[in-house]
């Protein structure tokens, strides 16, 4: 590389190589110029990020849960994704105990790929703020299809006598708290989005539960 930086010389120009002063000047110019280039690059790179319009469209969504009957599930759109709001019946809640041995990650220890908020994971068996309402992003953690369900016991061949959800693309199954069953293509539990109870009958998806709760 040094060959190119040296002057090729000329009649009026002695073949002066890179003197220390020249080298210092070049390095300083590169550092200062580089800082300038980074400064200019910052807004350019930032322009790729979601704009205010996208953020507004991806804003929180309110769902009135009082209108969802026990055992029913409503699907709403949030940030372009399907979010399940399932009103779990007592039978469904009861089904969440006693099958930890069948689950791939019963205590939601693997939380990094599809992170769910801490307040939702306080009770690892229900994975929700209130046991009656299960909120989850309805996207399979394998490769992104939307699983079908909820299925009652013995309603779906892959699930067998377990109630839960079944993803038709590659056969992963999840229980009524979105926990993935063992030996399935998916390795992570379904992601729970941030959400909070604005009142007993209204949840807001996309906003965090305040600490006091």
């Amino acid at each position: 590389m040094t060959a190119s930086l040296q002057t090729a010389g000329g009649p009026d120009v002695p073949d002066a190589p890179l003197t220390p002063e020249r080298r210092n000047a070049i390095i300083t110019a590169c550092v200062v110029g580089g800082a300038g280039c980074i400064g200019v690059a910052v807004p350019m790179v930032a322009s790729f990020a979601p704009s205010e319009r996208e953020k507004a469209a991806g804003g929180p969504v309110e769902v009135d849960v009082s209108s969802i009957a026990a055992g029913e599930m409503r699907i709403v759109e949030w940030q372009g994704k399907p979010v399940w709001v399932l009103h779990r019946s007592p039978a469904m809640i009861a089904s969440l105990k006693n099958h930890d041995a069948l689950l791939g990650d019963p205590d939601s220890k693997r939380n990094s790929n599809y992170p769910s908020p801490d307040y939702a994971l306080k009770d690892p068996s229900t994975r929700s703020i209130k046991p009656e309402f299960f909120v989850a992003i309805g996207i399979c953690t394998h490769l992104g299809c939307s699983p079908s369900g909820p299925f009652a016991p013995n309603e779906n061949a892959q699930l067998g006598d377990q109630p839960g959800f079944f993803c038709p693309c590659h056969g992963s199954t999840f229980d009524m708290a979105g926990r993935v069953f063992k030996d399935k293509p998916a390795a992570d539990n379904l992601q729970v989005p941030s959400y909070r109870f604005k009142s007993d009958s209204m949840i807001v998806i996309g906003e965090d539960q305040k600490k006091s709760a």
Binding site: M1, A3, S4, L5, T7, A8, G9, G10, P11, D12, V13, A29, G33, V42, P43, M44, A46, S47, F48, A49, S51, E52, R53
Partner: protein, 466 residues
């Protein structure tokens, strides 16, 4: 083994052994391109223009990520970029300020050519390619200006495309074909977007490469107009030449600092430049039913726009007069190489006279206005042949040549200023006088440029160490 011999080491050597064209290009165009050592202030603007081209390409690509070329969405999408895209305002202002600075750099660059005779033999092709770049740049900014879809965008495009109507026989069909509709509309916007983002940038890039190659093939001129290749040393290197790299890379970097300072001062503190760079009227969404009271093109087009508006029905009289004078002068005095050239020019002058003044064949002033406006842009391309001065540089020409060029510059600025303002009878008269000087400067150049006492041109460049 098929590898080339290389003087370089390491990764560079590996590449050079397989693709020597890279380093050959570097040597030919940078480290062993011998440029005259006496470049002055006027010689910065070529590299400034190149820098602005890069800025426009980068900011343009980023804008195109968010802009919507639809008549209903365009205006809002630009404001969306300004307000809601992170850093969007900065990118938008980069592009709008860049457009104006591109023309500042290019006009200064062209003026250098006029001062030092850079277009004279053997650099005519460099000049012609440069003129094509200038024309492409005008097209690029014309197409680009429609995109924000403001009042000025819309009506400016409407007026300029309607100029094509005045072409005899095919005019009306042609302007409809260009627009894709009967008036400027969504169809026009979409195709102008395609031209502005893809077509003309590709053309510009090709022309710029050609321009630089053409220059490097013959070598750069200098403020003294001395041909440095006439005096070389034992190794064939010009005595007054220095390698472009590192001397001029470093020099241009220094100059760029000043240029960027001016550019950023405008971008951050006066992006509208009091309505000259970003016009107030363009913050009103385009309305096909309401023409603004005051349509003006952007400042870099205003001199030629002035010429268009100065061409009134009375002005045709002047055109006819000019045609007679030039016709006589050409026939009597012109020392063209071939008789063919003399007779062609004479024929053109006779036709001009006929179409300007002879009843029945007289063309209306709208067509003449378009012709003169077009000529006022094209005449620059003819400089290598109009300028018959025996010396290149203004430094060794008769002193009064400076006054002639000075008045031309003043006329150019006056025309530019008038083009931004509404017309009054007095202003039209002034514009006509300036137009007359403008064309006289060029068309009479074969005579005045070789008249007077020329100073002796030195053998070597004049240079003060700094």
């Amino acid at each position: 083994m098929g590898l080339h011999a290389t003087q370089y080491k390491g990764l560079l050597g590996w590449i050079d052994a397989r693709m020597p064209s890279l380093m050959t290009a570097f040597r030919t165009h940078m480290s062993e391109y011998y440029a005259p050592k006496n470049f002055n202030f006027w010689y910065f603007f070529g590299s400034f223009a190149l820098m602005v081209l890069v800025i426009q390409l980068v900011s343009g690509i980023l804008l195109a990520m968010h802009y919507k070329p639809d008549a209903n969405l365009a205006f809002w999408s630009v404001e969306f970029i300004m307000r809601e895209v992170h850093g969007g305002w900065f990118i938008r202002y980069m592009h709008s300020t860049g457009a104006s600075f591109f023309f500042i750099a290019v006009y200064m660059h062209m003026f250098r050519g006029m001062l030092y005779g850079s277009y004279k033999k053997p650099r005519e092709l460099v000049w012609l390619m440069g003129w094509l770049i200038f024309a492409a740049l005008m097209a690029e900014s014309f197409f680009g200006y429609l995109l924000p879809w403001g009042q000025m965008s819309f009506w400016g495009a409407q007026v300029i495309i309607n100029l094509f109507d005045s072409i005899p026989l095919i005019g009306k069909w042609l302007s409809t074909w260009i627009r894709g509709d009967f008036v400027v509309g969504d169809a026009t916007l979409n195709r102008f977007f395609s031209f502005h983002v893809v077509l003309v940038p590709l053309v510009l890039l090709g022309l710029v490469v050609g321009h630089i190659f053409a220059l490097h093939d013959v070598g750069s001129n200098n403020p003294d107009g001395v041909e440095i290749k006439d005096r070389t040393d034992a190794k064939g290197r010009p005595l007054d030449g220095i390698p472009f790299h590192p001397y001029y890379t470093v020099h241009d970097l220094y100059g760029l600092g000043f240029f960027f300072t001016a550019y950023c001062a405008v971008l951050f503190f006066a992006p509208e430049m009091f309505g000259v760079f970003l016009e107030g009227n363009n913050f009103i969404p385009a309305d096909p039913f309401q023409t603004p009271t005051h349509i003006a093109p952007l400042w870099y087009f205003t001199p030629y726009y002035s010429v268009l508006r100065a061409t009134t029905s009375d002005f045709r009289l002047w055109i006819a007069l000019a045609a007679v004078v030039l016709g006589v002068a050409v026939f009597t005095f012109m020392r063209a190489r071939t008789r063919g050239v003399r007779y062609t020019v004479l024929a053109v002058m006779i036709l001009a006279f006929v179409f300007a003044i002879v009843p029945k064949l007289q063309q209306d002033q709208r067509l003449w206005g378009v012709i003169l406006m077009g000529l006022s842009v094209m005449v620059f391309a003819l400089l290598p042949w109009l300028d018959q001065s025996p010396v290149r540089s203004i430094r060794y020409r008769p002193g009064w040549h400076k006054i002639v060029i000075g008045i031309f510059v003043v006329a150019f600025f006056v025309l530019g200023y008038l083009g931004m303002s509404p017309t009054t009878p007095t202003r039209t008269l002034v514009a006509q006088l300036c137009t007359a000087w403008y064309f006289a400067f060029f068309l009479l150049m074969p005579w005045w440029s070789r008249t007077g006492t020329f100073k002796p041109v030195p053998d070597r460049v004049t240079f003060a160490a700094h």
